[in-house]
Symmetry: C2
Subunit: 142 residues, 2 copies
């Protein structure tokens, strides 16, 4: 069965949830993220010490646009929840990359633009993302 | 439009999410809770200091049965995530009640049985649930 883009995105998010479980996090995909009146990330994960909220984008064009309200809602949700916000992007056929919120570029309008090349040059791999937090928690526990 | 039981349950969960937002929590409904291979509560909420995971049950019969694996998965998820687990029940036409995990009764089989009368006599109201945590955090911050 050929999957459409939305199905592929859902499938990719489920894979991310599974990867996080395998690394010790409890994790859920949010229902109806982006469709309701309240802010909601796509995926939320915690292992008690580290809590992460992800806005996920699956794409197959040269770049993706994130609109300002998506970013603002991710930040608002994360601040209330006590989570670190991340933009998780995955180009079709490649692995997930995790983008620092501070490093994505705003276009002339209200959007943020992430190119495939930027995502795969500048983004963290899944292992790099988790190592970053493992280092942080080992410093904090000293 | 007449809603079926599943739709009423979804609607009731959305209302719970809204109530939690109005009291300062960030909150999501989980996608496909109970249908996937990994544990997932129905609703997860946090305000940084208090993190709550809810298994939600909407019912219109005299009692509801919760199976053992639902309870075990709620506890497993909550321990990993760093959340307090709660059974949230709502009888059609009445308000939500929140049940202490330790006080629900196991039946002869692998199930837990919650009667309507037990839920509304023994369960906490929404205000009581939140007051309990507000007291806890004010003691901890002294």
């Amino acid at each position: 069965m050929v999957k459409n883009k939305k199905q592929k995105g859902t499938y990719a998010e489920r894979e991310l949830v599974k990867m996080l479980w395998e690394r010790g996090f409890a994790c859920v995909r949010a229902a109806g993220s982006g469709s309701g009146p309240l802010p909601s990330p796509d995926v939320i994960a915690s292992n008690k010490t580290t809590t992460l909220a992800f806005e996920c984008k699956f794409f197959s064009a040269d770049y993706i646009l994130l609109n300002y309200s998506q970013i603002a809602q991710l930040v608002e949700f994360s601040q209330r929840f006590g989570a670190d916000p991340w933009i998780a992007v995955r180009y079709e056929g490649k692995d997930w990359r995790f983008l620092d919120m501070a490093r994505i570029r705003r276009t002339s309008g209200e959007n943020f633009k992430v190119s495939k090349s930027f995502a795969y040059e500048d983004g963290h791999t899944f292992d790099e993302l988790l190592e970053r937090y493992e280092k942080l928690s080992s410093v904090q526990s000293k």
